[in-house]
Structures are given as structure tokens and as C-alpha cells.
Symmetry: C2
Subunit: 265 residues, 2 copies
């Protein structure tokens, strides 16, 4: 057993969708979260910047004595997961392989859609991972640069949001895709609008939620589970931007009261 | 990617229930299986013997250049998983933690039943693992020494089998258990009879099938997936007893044609 917290990092508030799933599936685990909203979105940035920023977040989490790190951001996973995993001596989990595996398991018709930030789509990492396991599967990728900024500004159910989501997803409609990977952890906050745009016949894969299965398996494998005997978990959230806005989005999404602190990295 | 096979070991034919789930979930992976039917069942043996026999099987699998070992036997997992995992430099997966985690997730009423071999039940390992994660959950354990021998003799749907299963499970009936862990990989072959005995209101947890989720996650985590580009997998099965009987049970269960070789360890 290991009673230290699990560290989560994201470019902003998107990783909260991953934390929500952790709290549901592994309620005894404790979270330390850092969101880099001051520098969000990461998607349109250079690989070099994404690498540097993500390492800033990793170094911050290491000061909190975490037992495991979840890179709860597809863009950061695409660019720097393997590097971080190789350099740390604690397990480091990304969101892309879990999302790709779940998509293959769900897909029936041989064609999977992937939406994500410009960097994630440009890296073509979902196609690569999906086709290694299932070469005959077709992958249709679409960059949605306007989605993460909507979520960061807590604009998730307005008419503007509905319009942006619908317009952005037009190229994905009627293309024979029956499985759509939400390849950015911000997107589950827009899930109702995305489902409405693509129709009920399309199964949405939440890459972040899928990665919690991996967290659970790796906690078992490395024998790192937190014991309930330690009492209720005391989650801690940090943001590089406004603690007030972060708290508003987070409490609305997680349905629990939390403490948020601003930090400068 | 790593195109080497995954090694499976069991006291006999029970691990085939785990292989079946692997073939369903991860059809591109290749299997090398060793079943020690000549010395089955392991359940009533001493810990020392189980340890020695299991290491014999591990050494055999290592000669086949496996990339990962699945201890597809609850008894062997209970006694020697941690030791083998610590000594090998490839991932080693047992069936008990996956079964315990799945049972906690499924359980609603706060009381989980566990059935297994005498050694597994005597080790009390399911209770220990379940209560570490969920201390308030009650665990009711029952040793079923006659089940594995029934399966080893391919007696899985006869009237005798029905009678043995029903009589053995009487202490588990009407005890408020809504989740029952099949804590021996032989037991899924008796699943219809077990379900009939305990009633439809009880969810059965197949510890072996659950462990394939762990295999999938660890293949991803350690980047050991087999590529489809290598062509169809060529599974290989070995038994320390009669190849003919093993083949009969295995083909009936897996619904594929396989090659079985007898080996002396």
C-alpha cells in the first residue's frame, strides 16, 4: 500500500474530466492537480514549448510527493509522455493508448473518428496507435481548435458553444464513423453538444475516463493502492491562472467542494 | 512493439478460461500455455510444493522466450506471485487482484462471496485484498475442493457435476451475497451450474477474465503489443499429462483447433 497522492496535470481544466472518473472508480485515492490555464490551450503551441511547459508541471507535482503521475492532457501525452515515463521512477500514465484501445474495442464498422487539438491531430498519434493494433481500421482525424478555449472560459452549454461544436464537426458527419474519440480531455465537458452534433449512432470514447482503468491496474500491479484506513482523501487543486474561475468550473463538474490555490511556475 | 508470445501457466486446464478471454479481447497476441495436469489439482498441496511446481512452469515458459507471464491459477497466484514478479525482469500478472477489484466494483450489498481451492481459501488472500480497498465489505469464503477435479476430468455438465456443485455451494446460498468471485480459473467451465445453484441475483466474477484487462493495460504501458503485421498468431499448448484429453477440453472450450504437446518437467 502507498498512501501518497496521485498527481494529475493538464494545460487547464480539461484534466478534471479524468479526476471525476478517478473519484468515481477509485474513491479512496487522493488527488493533487495542477492546471496550467495561464498558458492554455497547449494545442496550437510548438512541440518544444509543450515539452517545456509539461516538464514544469511534472516538477511541481514531484514537490508534492506523488506516487504516480497522470498526464491528463492528450496534447502533452502526444509530445512528451514517453520522455517523462523514461526519466521518472514512478509510473507515468498518458491518455492516448487507453483511448486508442477503447476505440478499437468499441468500433464495429472499421472506421474511427478522432477529434483533438491541432498538435494532437498533427502528431497523428491516434492513427499510429490504432493501426498498429488494428491495421485495417480507417482513422479519420479532425482538429477542433475552438473547443478547448470554450471550456477554459466555462462556455459549455451556451448557444455559441452549440454553434461552434456543430460547425466544427460538420466534416465528421455522414462519413461512416461509428466511434469517435474525444482526443482532448476538455471535450467531455462538451459531450452533450458533441453527441447532438454527430448523432446517437456514434459512440463517444472519453480518453481520459478510459485511462483510469489503467491507473487502477497499475496501482494493483505496483501495489500502490491507498488504504481507506487513512481516512477521507484530501484532494488539492492548483492553477496557474484564476483560482476563482477554476473553482467554479471544477465544483460544477465534480459536484464536490474543493480548495484551489493559485501558483506561479 | 514486441512480437514474442505471452506465457500462461496453470495447474491444468483452468487457465484456458483466461486464454479464451485473451483471444477475444486481444486477438493479435500469441499464446504459449503450460498446464501441469499430471500434478493437478494444486489446491490441496502444501505451499512449498505449489511454490516449487509453479517455478517449474515458469522456467519452462522462459525457454519459450515469452514477453510476459500470466499466472492463470489462483492457488499459484496466492502462494508465489509476488516472489516470481520480484525475480523476473518481464511483467508477471496474477489473477487475484483483478478479481478482487472487479468484485468491489460490482458489489452493491456490502457482502462478497469467494469460492476457491483449499489453499486459496486458507490463504485468505481475497478477503485481505478486498478489505484493504474496502474495509467495510464483508467477505464470505468457501473452499470447493471437488470442483477443479471435475473440470480436469472433463466432467462439466453431467448430473454428477450438477449435484457436486449444488451440494458444495449450499453454505453460500441465502447469505446475502450478491457478488461471487470464481476464485479458481477452473470454475468458469462450471459457470452455468454455479449460476443455477446460487440463482440469477448473484453476479459471478471471473477472476481470470478480469486479469486480461490487466494484460491489455500492461501491454500498453510497457509497449509490448504484438503487431498484426506479423500475421496470424500461432498458439502453442503444452501439458504434463495426456495431450489427447487436454486437446479435447481445450478445443471444446476455445472453439478453435489447436496443437498440444506432452512435456515432462
Amino acid at each position: 500500500m502507498d498512501n501518497r497522492p496521485i498527481g494529475f496535470l493538464d494545460s487547464g481544466v480539461g484534466g478534471l474530466t479524468v479526476v471525476k472518473e478517478l473519484i468515481r472508480q477509485l474513491p479512496q485515492e487522493e488527488v493533487v492537480y495542477i492546471g496550467d490555464s495561464a498558458r492554455a490551450p497547449y494545442g496550437p503551441r510548438s512541440a518544444e514549448q509543450i515539452r517545456d511547459f509539461t516538464w514544469d508541471l511534472v516538477r511541481f507535482l514531484l514537490t508534492k510527493d506523488v506516487k504516480m503521475i497522470v498526464i491528463a492532457c492528450n496534447t502533452a501525452t502526444a509530445v512528451v509522455w514517453e520522455d517523462i515515463k523514461a526519466k521518472l521512477d514512478i509510473p507515468v500514465i498518458g491518455v492516448i493508448l487507453p483511448g486508442a484501445s477503447a476505440a478499437i474495442q468499441t468500433n464495429q464498422g472499421g472506421k474511427i473518428g478522432v477529434i483533438g487539438t491541432p498538435m494532437t491531430i498533427q502528431s497523428d498519434i491516434y492513427r499510429e496507435k490504432i493501426q498498429l493494433l488494428s491495421p485495417q481500421t480507417e482513422v479519420m482525424s479532425l482538429s477542433c481548435p475552438r473547443f478547448a478555449p470554450l471550456v477554459e472560459s466555462n462556455e459549455i452549454s451556451s448557444n455559441l458553444a452549440r454553434q461552434v461544436v456543430y460547425e466544427s464537426l460538420i466534416p465528421m458527419i455522414d462519413q461512416g464513423v461509428d466511434t469517435l474519440v474525444l482526443g482532448c480531455t476538455h471535450y467531455p465537458l462538451l459531450r452533450p453538444l458533441i453527441q447532438e452534433a454527430v448523432g446517437d449512432g456514434v459512440s463517444l470514447i472519453d480518453s481520459g475516463a478510459e485511462c483510469i482503468r489503467d491507473v487502477s491496474v497499475l496501482l494493483n500491479y505496483f501495489q500502490l493502492n491507498r488504504s481507506w484506513q487513512e481516512g477521507e482523501p484530501n484532494h488539492r487543486f492548483y492553477t496557474t491562472a484564476s483560482a476563482k474561475i477554476f473553482k467554479e468550473i471544477a465544483e460544477n463538474w465534480l459536484k464536490i467542494e474543493i480548495n484551489v490555490e493559485h501558483v506561479d511556475l
